[in-house]
Amino acid sequence: MVESDEAALGMIIRTLRESSMDGYSLLSKTGIDEDKLVKMLRTKLSRIVTVRGDLTKERIGRAYLSIPPNAGQEADRVLGVLAYKLETL
């Protein structure tokens, strides 16, 4: 189970940066629960991750998640900010 929001955010972005996948695979790989994933996809990741499918707790597993090429730069920027935060903590 992932503790902080920052850590969860970083894991989601890094995982999807490597490869697009369905919600079940992302949940399994990151260990994040459906609630947190849906919340992040609606807020902090809304401009980075493309969701093909329903963005609900019940259906997020079936949704297809990806970071499109034009959002790659923004994803890397967020990862950079997170790394900086971890270093300065």
Partner: protein, 432 residues
């Protein structure tokens, strides 16, 4: 790559290089773009995407040659375009720059690719849902499968107590089928979360899903079948075209026509390299210079007759395809003196009464539309051809005619009529 040293080979080889290597790159690009969509190659949209990515380097190669940035006979240019077409559009390859308007097409192309990828995503989501629905119905309606599924989920669950609690908390309906389905749905979710990659294989291994269903849906069986079908169709098409081209092995007319059209294009191409021009001249000479051989009168064996027939057919094809294009180019007011000289040299070098008879009247007529430099070259060519008609005297005013820029249409018309009179007398002297 006009300035880069590179082996100069026939253009069709370079286009084939761009096509073949471009196809490999295109397949890789599409696979990368659609990674993790298990059934992507089962959809027509994916094949459309592939066709677009294969066509892109070929069209770019043609455009770069057309705009004079590279030569379409350069192997290095062909390889560069096949492998780095995206970098060329991004302007990251020094010395190989597309015109600004063409480079601007990249964005709409990318937008279209995004649109198609979204469509593929929709297809993929529907495809996965249909599979799930099929499996869930299969399990719900079969008590044996239900028992196996129950055992598999309980054994694989990442959080068994939570699953059991959730199952107990399910609302109970008066319809047992509804209760079963709710239970299966919940267990399915748990299995997918616990084994996101292996769930299909586990279902098949435990005898819950038939082997064919598993292969078709989870092991990309449908995509593999469709891909194999498309590749097989393409191979058959290539073999079919090859067979069609070579099936008339007596006259080889189809191949001959294709080569004539190819070399017509190369011979008249203004930006061809010197070596490519030389190759075209060699072909033109080969096609035109054997017209001097006259068919014998005493041919008795069928092989010799067949050879003569084939030769006659080849001549007809040259007369239909090649010569009109050359004469048309001579009439074009903007034709360069170098090109005009090359065309006329090709005709004069291969002069023979048989060949002359096909084009001389039209060449004389073309005086009317040519510029004065080309008129002078044409006059010199016609004078050179008089060697085939020693008995027909050419008037001095025609032999020494120096075309001028300010000649009136009336003056030119008079010359044309005089040249036609000479031609009439020349052909009369050749008649048996």
């Amino acid at each position: 790559m006009s300035g880069l040293a590179s082996p100069d080979v026939p253009a069709y080889i370079c286009y084939l290089i761009v096509f073949f290597f471009g196809t490999f790159v295109a397949v890789r690009t599409v696979n990368e773009r659609l990674s993790a969509r298990p059934a992507a190659w089962a959809f027509a949209s994916t094949w459309l995407l592939l066709v677009a990515h294969v066509a892109l380097p070929v069209l770019t190669f043609w455009l770069l040659d057309y705009t004079g940035v590279v030569n379409d006979t350069s192997i290095f240019a062909a390889l560069l375009v096949a492998f780095a077409v995206r970098l060329i559009f991004a302007g990251e390859v020094k010395g190989v720059a597309l015109p600004a308007q063409a480079a601007a097409l990249w964005k709409p192309f990318q937008a279209w690719v995004e649109y198609v990828v979204k469509r593929i995503d929709d297809h993929n989501a529907r495809y996965t849902e249909r599979f799930e629905e099929k499996i869930l119905s299969l399990i719900t309606n079969d008590p044996q499968r239900m028992a196996k599924f129950d055992a598999l989920v309980q054994a694989s669950s990442g959080n068994l107590p939570a699953l059991q609690a959730a199952l107990l908390a399910l609302p109970v309906s008066a319809n047992p089928a509804v209760n079963s389905r709710r239970k299966v749905d919940l267990m399915w979710e748990d299995l997918r979360k616990a084994k996101p990659q292996l769930y299909g294989w586990l279902l098949w291994k435990n005898g819950i899903v038939p082997g064919l269903t598993y292969w078709l849906w989870v092991e990309k069986g449908r995509a593999k079948l469709i891909s194999a079908g498309v590749v097989l169709s393409m191979v058959l098409a290539v073999v079919g075209i090859g067979f069609w081209f070579t099936s008339d092995n007596v006259t080889r007319s189809r191949q001959h026509t294709a080569w004539l059209n190819y070399y017509k294009w190369r011979f008249l191409k203004a930006s061809a390299t010197d070596r490519d021009r030389w190759r075209s001249r060699e072909y033109v000479a080969q096609e035109l210079c054997n017209w001097s051989s006259q068919p014998g009168q005493t041919l008795v064996d069928t092989e010799a007759k067949r050879r003569v027939d084939t030769e006659a057919k080849r001549r007809v094809e040259v007369a239909d395809i090649f010569l009109p294009a050359l004469l048309r180019e001579l009439r074009y007011p903007g034709v360069t003196p170098v090109q005009a000289r090359e065309i006329l040299a090709g005709l004069v070098n291969c002069h023979s009464p048989a060949l002359n008879a096909v084009y001389v009247p039209k060449l004389i007529d073309s005086f009317r539309t040519q510029n004065e430099t080309v008129r002078l070259e044409t006059r010199r060519a016609l004078v050179a051809l008089t060697v085939d008609y020693p008995k027909a005297k050419l008037a001095d005013n025609l032999a020494k005619w120096e075309p001028k820029k300010d000649e009136t249409p009336g003056d030119i018309d008079q010359r044309v009529r005089q040249w036609h009179l000479w031609w009439k007398s020349a052909t009369a002297t050749r008649r048996p």
